[in-house]
């Protein structure tokens, strides 16, 4: 009998162990204003299984990025959007979103504005 055809009694255990150590290398796209803090690189490869690990890996490689991405409380700044491929991570599992091989993470600071400040409603209305 061919040795390869002998079922391995520990096959499932081996498979679980393989997946537990599997770490992917997502690519993080760096927007132009942040490249001065990433050694002028437009993308950075990190080893990570989740978005949180990927972002931690990014700031470990490029510490100057940290204050631009995270507030003092360690949370991602409100205006920093993080997309996994074409999906907003807030609509996935946020920072716990699992990554797979070939995933691309995009960091996109928000783009907004307008021609005058929002007017607050007056508490009283005067009729002349």
């Amino acid at each position: 009998m061919d040795r390869l055809c002998v079922p391995d009694p520990n096959f499932q255990l081996h498979l679980l162990a393989y997946h537990s150590i599997l770490i992917y290398m997502p690519k993080i796209q760096i927007p132009s204003p942040l490249r001065q803090y990433s050694g002028k690189q437009s993308s950075v490869d990190v080893t990570a299984k989740t978005v949180a690990e990927a972002l931690a890996g990014l700031v470990a490689q490029h510490p100057d990025l940290k204050r631009h991405l995270f507030a003092d409380d360690g949370k991602l700044r409100a205006f920093v959007n993080v997309y996994v491929n074409d999906e907003d991570m807030r609509y996935l599992q946020k920072e716990a979103t699992a990554l797979k091989d070939g995933d691309t993470i995009s960091i996109v600071p928000s783009i907004a504005g307008g021609c005058e400040p929002q007017r607050s409603k007056l508490p009283f209305t005067t009729h002349l």
Binding site: Q29, P31, S32, P33, Q36, S42, R67, H68, R77, F79, V80, N81, Y83, D86, D88, S106, V108, P109, S110, I111, A112, G113, G114, C115, E116, P117, Q118
Partner: protein, 146 residues
Amino acid sequence: MLKIKQIAYAALRQHGEQTYPHECCGVLLGHFDDDGANSKTVTRVAKCGNTRADSPHNRYHIDPKELIEIQREARDRGEDILGFYHSHPDHPAQWSPTDLAEAHWFGCSYVITSVEQGKPTATNSFELTGSDESDKKFIDENIDVD
């Protein structure tokens, strides 16, 4: 200095006319000049939708998903995102406190066109400078239409 091709300049101003009385918005694409003065050359603009349906006459917002697609296509052509443009319907072509508060792309240009009674008038550019959110400010930036 923001150098911009005539066709791109005309397109962003025309966009403000098309969306009047709502604000238009879009992305400036091209390359950063290697002159040490942060000059930029805009070779094309990408029109975007204004997702601020609740107040489109005085607010704009670009969907990040749309920007990712624009960025992907720009990279394939060897272009960068240099900044953004929007219009101020019946307001001056000057940045507002909202524009500054919502600006986060340091070193990039924010181009504003005043559209009065449906016609584009002045167009000005402002570069976002500063080291981070705490000291950011807009500085006037000359526009050179080529």
